[in-house]
Amino acid sequence: MSRVLTSLSRRAAHLLAVLLLVTMAGTVLVNLMPGDPAITILGPTATPEQIAAFNAAHGYDQSLPVQYLQWLGGALTGDLGTSVHSDKPVVDALLERLPVTLELTVLALLLSLAAAVPMAVVAASRENSVFDRVLSKAASGLLSIPTFVLGVVLVYVLGVASGLLPVAGWAPLSAGLGENLRYVVLPVLALALAEFPSFYRLVRSDVVSTLQTDFVRTATVRGLPRWYILVRHVLRPSSLSLVTVGAVTFGRLLAGSIVVESLFGLPGLGNLALQSVPGKDIPMIQGIVVLVALAYVLINAVVDTSYAILDPRMRT
């Protein structure tokens, strides 16, 4: 029992250290970035005195370590500061944006997995068949198409030309599920298509190698149906690396897909970052950094747990 506790607390310490490092790096990087929050707020006509006053009021005249410590002090009490731009609490802004990005991320991930996994399994179980070759080449091709092109093409085909779907904008779940889904389809499709190839490639190669294991061969010899072998014996052992990559992807998407969110004008974290970074909204950027890092840390915890679920050898 105590062993479990030690390993848990070690893990927690590691994650805490990651959070600290990330936020510290955030402070440094934000300050390295060009642009002056005072000018973005006060406008280019601001006089040096006005700028100095602004900086003093917001604490930007302090040294970096002091700024960081002050921020950290607030963060520990759940106060991530106030956005320089909107004068609203950073936490509120993040909580407002998170659901959108979260929905996009989850749906995109589910969609690309739902497409990639079965296709990859079928392709792998018929290695070198026409199906396999076409799909594998298509996946490589998809890998090489930038998201911003993919998005534009989708908008033209499914939005403008056919008029099937709204070309941009967002309807929250509160506007009704159907409405929400209509708006979500295009951006999710763009994201899912972009993520599809890596999932596909991963699962395919995993399944190909699992299919060569002795236990699959044994299962075949025992007269079990093909589908059963694929589902029961192949998929689960093949899903470990998928979980790892899926988790990293999840974290990455949660940081906000800037290209997709700005193309579709979605009120998500990506757009928030895109607005905050050039605008040097320091507290907001810090907030995004913390949120993303926290998500990453949580996802890692989930991944560790799911390893144990997927692979009984990792239990105990």
Partner: protein, 291 residues
């Protein structure tokens, strides 16, 4: 010895399929190597081969490909020769793709090897750094680095290289840790080999397999990402032609001349396919070689 040749038809088709697949694989591999070779050649001789100055106006804007034999692949949105830009773009796209990947591989592999070899606090530090980098919004890194250093190829190399370093560090660490269990490491130790000898002569060559096959994918990713970055103003500054930037600029005139997208996009697709094919081939070769 008669017989084996008279195998039933069904079985024969199985063999045919396998050999056909193998032959196809070989052809695809050769084509891919040929393509990359051609690119390298063109890149080296870009000034000689390209029909026009890639930075100078060569004709009316937005000429489609093959419309004018003087501009085989047409002209871009401000009238520069697309073929010349593509050829010159090889340099940037390949330099950035290969260079950033190389940086990531070198740094990542080094970290991964050290972590796997020393374990203990070295591993803790490496894990901490990789986790930190992985949990950091990449955009911020790119923007900050582009701001501190001026945007350009060296900055891109550095920032994209750093971006992919943690992944390689993880891959290498996992592979190297598996190798550490193997007895040839113990054997080298028992012969009194120094640490650096073990790390670089024994561990390194045997931990590279996943790195090599993944690095190919990364080259492709970097080429594509470089293009997306010009959209944020931190890519290669104009007028340097990179394929990604050419796509980005074609995107802005999609309504006027959608065909402008095709040449650079095809270039990336072919190159990525080629790299992937080579990567798959290498992976097969390497995993076939030692087991």
């Amino acid at each position: 010895m008669t017989a084996i040749a008279e195998a039933p038809a069904a079985a024969e088709s199985g063999l045919d399929r396998a050999t056909r697949a193998a032959r196809r694989g070989r052809i695809a591999y050769l084509l891919s190597v040929g393509w990359i070779g051609l690119l390298l050649l063109l890149a080296a001789a870009a000034d000689v081969v390209s029909p026009a100055d890639p930075g100078a106006p060569a004709g009316p804007p937005r000429l489609p490909a093959f419309a004018d034999l003087g501009h085989l692949l047409g002209t871009d949105s401000i009238g520069r020769d697309v073929l010349s830009r593509l050829v010159h773009g090889i340099r940037i796209s390949l330099v950035v793709g290969l260079g950033a990947t190389a940086i990531a591989v070198v740094l990542g592999v080094l970290c991964g090897l050290l972590a796997a070899y020393f374990r203990g606090w070295v591993e803790t530090v490496v894990n901490l750094l990789t986790d930190t980098m992985l949990s950091f919004p990449p955009l911020l890194v790119l923007l900050a680095l582009a701001a501190v250093l001026t945007p350009g190829v060296p900055t891109l190399l550095l920032s994209l290289g750093l971006l992919f370093t943690p992944t390689f560090a993880r891959l290498t660490r996992a592979a190297a840790m598996a190798q550490m269990q193997r007895d040839y490491i113990a054997a080298a130790r028992s012969l009194g080999a120094s640490r650096s000898r073990i790390i670089f002569r024994e561990l390194l060559p045997n931990s590279l397999r996943p790195v090599i096959s993944y690095s190919v994918v990364v080259v492709a990713l970097v080429i594509v990402i470089e293009g997306s970055l010009s959209f944020l103003g931190v890519g290669v500054p104009p007028p340097a032609p990179s394929w990604g930037a050419m796509i980005a600029s074609a995107k802005d005139q999609l309504h006027l001349a959608p065909y402008l997208m095709a040449p650079p996009a095809l270039m990336i697709v072919c190159t990525v396919l080629a790299f992937n094919t080579i990567g798959d081939h290498l992976r097969r070769r390497i995993s076939g070689g030692s087991a």
